[in-house]
């Protein structure tokens, strides 16, 4: 995972899809353009949902990886 310190951390553990994607979408506007949100989810569906949301909204998933039983995302606000 990137060493970049995110502007916002989201603990999405326990939330079921599509809520992890909903929470990232609701919170991305809380960071400045160019800023990042680090989100940790436990639902495997988020591995498809969050990148799909980022692509369709023009934001960028800098990293998405599985760490143990968790899914960790670093999402950059592009616009």
């Amino acid at each position: 995972m990137s060493d970049t310190k995110p502007d916002l951390e989201l603990d999405l553990r326990g939330l079921l899809c599509p809520m992890p994607m909903v929470k990232v979408s609701q919170n991305i506007s809380k960071v400045p353009v160019g800023g990042t949100v680090r989100a940790v989810a436990t639902d495997a569906g988020s591995m498809a949902d969050i990148p799909a949301w980022a692509k369709s909204t023009g934001n960028e998933v800098v990293q998405a990886e599985k760490v143990g039983s968790e899914y960790v995302f670093l999402v950059k606000r592009v616009k």
């Binding site: 899809c17 599509p18 591995m47 949902d49 799909a52 949301w53 909204t57």
Partner: protein, 437 residues
């Protein structure tokens, strides 16, 4: 408002103007019976959420542009332009509506306010005022569907992990989660999360069903957003897969709106008759229990259980008895809420409202009747076959400290199949064992 924007809004309403909508817009006599039917109005007493008011905003524009009386004497006939004030009001009343259609049930003229709401959403989208969050979720689903190869490996890896869990739980090394299996009898359309696949996979394997998953999920935010084209395209993914795989049934998971879209709307949207049946998974499980294809302990759930009719499955989908029959088959202490079935109160979580933070206050307040209904049952378990309802009631459970276990019906069925206990033990035997301890 610029002339072009006005023409776009009026043109959009015009395209929606069929005999059904015209009747709903013409026949309201303002009896206000709907005020006692709407959970949002009853809880808040705010006119914004009165069903007649929601529709009245569309009626005002309708009178101005589609009736002679409204064109010539707008003040007398309360005819209005869709100005900024009206559109702001329309946005709040429209996107807050959960589409439960309880107001229609009580309306003496059966005015389907949700039908009017769908026209209102089309007008808002035409004005560039569609709900941004729901639009983003719909677009994300479309992107995922258009680029499914990008996500295939992750999805298949997830399915394999769930398959391992199924084998561990059932102690059956042959248990499997088939994906894209040609010629399977059923295509199971789940939600993106493993929670909607694992229990179904356990049940299908135990019933020795011929089934398969595909890459495409049930949730349809295009429907909540109010764009029938997006909603159709999202559902088209799994409908096309069902045709390609040659299945006999498309089985929709415990998700209210996805069932309604697939069963009641899709053929009309696609202008095509599907060569398979669409059923809800609880219809299938009810079949399995009654035919003895899965073994359940009749005392498997010993807590007092109640059942919430999700509006899209119950009042709008006609499925009332199968879920109750399933629960009664595994939980001897079942108690229904009052009122129930077609008169069931909406929990307040439908229509995509759980994804729209701006409506959090009214959403939680509108759950007041549901909270009272649940408390009156004295139940400690609430069986609920809809994801949005579970999110809402789960939050009500925390806010009101109800001490409830809010679970999908199929999870309770798996509990009653006895995998979590020594195989073959019954509820009576477990009671006796616990009494000894």
């Amino acid at each position: 408002m610029e002339k072009q924007e006005l023409e776009t809004i009026i043109g959009t309403l015009g395209k929606r103007m069929n005999r059904q909508l015209k009747e709903y817009l013409d026949v309201c006599v303002r009896c206000a019976i709907c005020k006692d039917a709407c959970h949002q109005y009853v809880a808040t007493q705010d006119m914004t959420y009165l069903p007649a008011h929601r529709a009245e905003l569309v009626r005002a524009v309708y009178r101005k542009y589609f009736t002679k009386a409204g064109q010539f004497m707008p003040a007398v006939y309360e005819a209005r332009d869709p100005d900024e004030h009206l559109l702001d009001d329309l946005y709040r009343s429209t996107y807050a509506c959960t589409g439960c259609r309880r107001c229609m049930y009580y309306c003496p003229f059966s005015i389907d306010t949700q039908w009017v709401i769908s026209a209102a959403k089309a007008m808002l989208i035409a004005a560039g005022r569609g709900n941004e969050m729901l639009g983003q979720l719909a677009d994300a689903a479309l992107f995922k569907g258009d680029n499914i190869e990008m996500f295939r490996d992750n999805l298949v890896e997830g399915f394999r992990e769930i398959e391992t869990q199924v084998r561990d739980i059932t102690k059956n090394p042959e248990a499997e989660i088939p994906v894209d299996r040609q010629g399977a009898d059923m295509l199971y359309v789940a939600l993106a999360g493993s929670h909607s696949i694992l229990p179904a996979a356990i049940i299908f394997n135990e019933a020795k069903a011929s089934w398969t998953l595909s890459m495409f999920e049930a949730a349809n935010y295009g429907f909540f957003f109010g764009d029938p084209d997006k909603a159709r395209l999202i559902a088209k993914r799994f409908m096309d897969e069902a045709k390609r795989l040659g299945v006999k049934e498309v089985v929709i998971t415990e998700c209210g709106h996805a069932y309604r879209v697939a069963e009641l709307f899709y053929e009309a949207w696609a202008k095509e008759r599907m060569p398979f049946k669409v059923v809800h998974i609880l219809e299938v499980i009810d079949r399995y229990v009654k035919e003895g294809r899965i073994k359940v302990d009749p005392r498997g759930i010993r807590e007092k259980v109640t059942y919430h009719d999700p509006c899209q499955i119950g009042r709008n989908g006609g499925i009332y008895e199968q879920p109750r029959d399933i629960v009664k088959a595994i939980a001897p202490d079942f108690v229904d809420m009052t009122p129930n079935r077609e008169k069931q109160w909406c929990c307040g979580g439908g229509g995509g409202i759980v994804a729209m933070e701006e409506f959090n206050e009214v959403r939680l307040k509108s759950g007041d009747m549901k909270v009272e209904q649940i408390k009156a049952t004295g139940a400690s378990v609430l069986a609920c076959p809809c994801e949005n309802c579970r999110l809402q009631i789960g939050e009500l459970n925390e806010v009101h400290d109800l001490g409830l276990r809010v679970v999908p019906v199929m999870d309770l069925v798996v509990e009653a199949m006895g995998f979590g206990h020594a195989a073959g033990t019954t509820g009576d035997e477990r009671d006796a064992a616990e009494a000894v301890v």
